[in-house]
Symmetry: C2
Subunit: 121 residues, 2 copies
DNA sequence: ATGTTATATCATTATATAATGATATATTAA
DNA sequence: TTAATATATCATTATATAATGATATAACAT
């Protein structure tokens, strides 16, 4: 029996996963959260987030490549803004979801949560 | 000037990023997509997705730890289902977003997209 | 008890990727 | 032109994590 046909389109899934990966890193998510308040230059983002300038630029490039943010040069400054308000909607929905599952996510034993556990034992 | 206070709560951002990481892997996203059609046993998920059994179990554990899916044993079988319909809402919103930014995400030059590029040159 | 099936866990390997420091590019001003 | 500022890119390192194969556990049947 060929199960391939039961699968949701693999290509579509990869693309969707990639979209979520834009949100799946704390530094990028922090940048996105800051940009919810309006456009900011790279320097402003560096100052607000406390991340290094190359790190901010790298994450912004990732977000821009995936069209999650738009860039706009003004003289020496380059301003970034969210490309679509649906990003905010998705974040709002996820916040609602989190308010219910937060405990589970917080206690999640896999991945980088191990880092946090070091402080608790 | 203390910029720390301008930051969205770092703890909250980490938790939110972790939630999105549940969606940010193609294998996990495929499992979630399949579960949108109703609860499935591990064996069914293995057959439908074509992933190895330990790999499915690992991803399910990740999803269960983060409360994105619920498990329920029935004899030898363990059935998994989505824990909350908001998961589906978030996916729907992201699909809408993707329908506009898909080209950007598809062309994204960072991360695993490099793998896909190998085929095109 | 033994055998079979279903699922989970463990140890390992390979890959992806976040972060850093150094450097390059671009813009403006003097 | 040179200097200063803003941002991007490159090369490297360290870490995170996806996948695998082997094994363990659990439930049921005989």
């Amino acid at each position: 029996m060929d199960t391939e046909q039961l699968l949701p389109d693999e290509q579509a899934i990869r693309i969707k996963a990639k979209l979520f990966r834009g949100f799946a890193d704390p530094s990028r998510l922090m940048l996105i959260e800051v940009l919810r308040n309006g456009k900011k230059s790279v320097g402003e983002l560096v100052e607000i987030t406390g991340l290094s300038q190359p790190n901010v630029s790298n994450h912004l490039r990732c977000l821009a490549d995936c069209d999650l943010v738009k860039k706009e040069r003004d003289g020496r400054y380059i301003y970034y803004r969210l490309s679509d308000m649906r990003i905010t909607t998705i974040l709002q929905k996820s916040e609602q979801l989190l308010s219910e599952v937060a405990k589970g996510v917080y206690d999640c034993t896999r991945y980088e949560s191990a880092k946090e556990l070091e402080n608790n034992e």
